[in-house]
Symmetry: C2
Subunit: 343 residues, 2 copies
């Protein structure tokens, strides 16, 4: 494996001195790039995920085109339920559909944790290939969904504005919920370990729906499983936890073994810094701001870095990039961070 030529991202996670923060964008691999949309028109979602050459090509596109300081492997958080034996359908423009929901003891007993990493070997193959093709240009991030977020899809069967059924399941069947969350957690740890073995330099855990939970319920249904994953992985590589919307839990997340904590654009920098001493923060540009223009983006990026500071900070969006963002605006975001010291 060739040595990293740009290790700014890993330096920021280790708390080392840097001249400027590193920058990448959530969902930078895909969605808004014309080069990606061409592949999307040709191959369906799971073909893109399951073919290492395609996943590698999609992962590298933004590195060549907009030049961020880290790559993130192209995949999806729902490969875990799929590898546990649950059918996952992905219809373009309609979001995921899991026709067989997981809500009973029998449903949970059926889930096959053993062999999950082997069944997801295509992701590891994509990671190995991407590491080779990156040839040390930037680090590669692996990822998985957080157990609570995966439970949301497995119980609800599809996306939702409020995930009431998933929450009702947790609140009324706490024993089953704990079993399901533990199975997802165990599988996720094996899967992420395999990603690191294949070459991932860091792993990020996306808890996209944890913000649906009240603080006490976050403590019950999300935090213990994030902790398990962080503890198991942080001995191998830096970990970033991103429980979107769970601003109230930043102090608790700062007590875990994670190196980095992702925050959404609601969270003021000063509040986040107070809550998370010794951790690296990642975020938190409003994705809708990328629908403005390069001058506005540059101005607001500078303000953001002024607020967070250069040290222990990774410039990113506060959530995934929107599909309709002009490429010039995405590049303006990355360039603004790179030019920050030379303003």
């Amino acid at each position: 494996m060739s040595e990293l030529k740009n290790d700014l991202f890993l330096k920021a996670l280790r708390g080392e001195e840097v001249k400027r923060p590193p920058v990448w964008m959530m969902r930078q691999a895909g969605r808004y790039l014309p080069e990606y949309l061409k592949l999307k028109a040709k191959y369906d979602f799971f073909t893109r995920c399951e073919t290492p050459e395609l996943a590698c090509e999609i992962t590298l596109q933004p590195i060549d085109i907009i030049g961020p300081d880290a790559a993130i492997i192209f995949s999806d958080i729902l490969v875990i339920p799929q590898a546990l034996g649950v059918k996952v359908l992905m219809e373009e423009g309609r979001g995921p559909l899991l026709p067989d929901t997981t809500t009973t003891q029998a449903d949970i007993d059926k889930l096959q944790v053993e062999g999950v990493a082997e069944r997801l070997d295509y992701v590891c193959k994509a990671i190995s290939l991407t590491k080779k093709e990156l040839n040390g240009r930037v680090p590669l991030i692996g990822f998985a969904g957080a157990p609570f977020t995966i439970l949301c899809y497995m119980v609800e069967g599809k996306g939702s504005k409020t995930f009431d059924k998933a929450k009702q399941f947790c609140f009324t069947e706490p024993v089953l919920a704990a079993q399901l969350l533990q199975k997802i957690t165990t599988a996720t740890i094996e899967y992420l370990k395999a990603q690191v073995k294949a070459g991932a330099d860091c792993v990020q855990i996306f808890d996209s729906w944890s913000g649906m939970l009240a603080p006490a319920d976050f403590d019950a249904y999300s935090l213990p499983y994030l902790k398990q994953i962080s503890d198991a992985l942080s001995v191998l590589c830096p970990v970033i936890l991103f429980p979107k919307g769970s601003w109230y839990a930043l102090g608790q997340l700062a007590q875990t073994s994670t190196s980095g904590i992702g925050i959404d654009w609601n969270v003021p920098a000063i509040y986040a810094r107070e809550q998370t001493p010794g951790k690296t923060l990642q975020g938190n540009f409003d994705p809708a701001k990328l629908l403005t223009d390069p001058a506005t983006i540059t101005k607001d990026v500078n303000k953001m870095i002024d607020a967070f500071g250069v040290h222990r900070y990774i410039a990113n969006l506060g959530h995934g990039i929107l599909p309709n963002v002009p490429v010039a605006n995405a590049k303006a975001f990355v360039d603004a961070v790179k030019n920050y010291p030379n303003r």
Copy 2:
């Protein structure tokens, strides 16, 4: 007008001593009650809103059936764009649709602020009739949508998970956005004043989508208009501001003339209390918790009141009641608050 027999709700807003907190539930008028669903099957949405006898009947149903300490007039926040001259369609189960979006100078110039209160006289008639029928049993709450939330629907033309178009409009056309927000604000103030004149004892402003905004954008596109409304109305009756998701702005809201501040279930009581000295807090039970059972609801309501305290507190949900909540559970919520002192 007969004197109020139960003025617990107004006492809490004035910061007076109470033995227990008052309780009501957002969207208590409708959605989950079989008695409401019967009327819903018979009359379309706007017929229900625009016929004072129907709006009155729907407003009173929960008072008779579950017994909260305040009534809220049955209406909708989108009556304001309608009264400004914008077509609003409401298809059952599909959410609102505004086929002609408001995004240009010409669109904004066309909006008719003058006469808004007269065109919404049917709401005031419903309020007068309801006051009479309530006969002093409990106070009656009037309401409106906050200007930013109304802008979201007028620009986007429909509901959205992220209201990107509405935010893009604000970020790229700040002058037009300010004009539109001001027109909505002026109309809303006239409308709420008329509600108070007709008998509303309190008004609540629902900023359902302000949580989509970063703090600096909340300062630009929401807060100034909430302040204007609060200042204009709080000389007439107590005001409650409910900017859902804008936890970061609680300290600023506490600096306004409002009596009450609504909070969602993400916000820990201790944080909310620290941020809002001298204000009455309203909330913040997770609506999905009403999908459990009366024993769980009672336990969690007691914990909630323990955390907020009895003084300057109105027990409520953290957002609207879900349509599929069993009536026994809604009643368990109200009863738990009423029985709090006798646990």
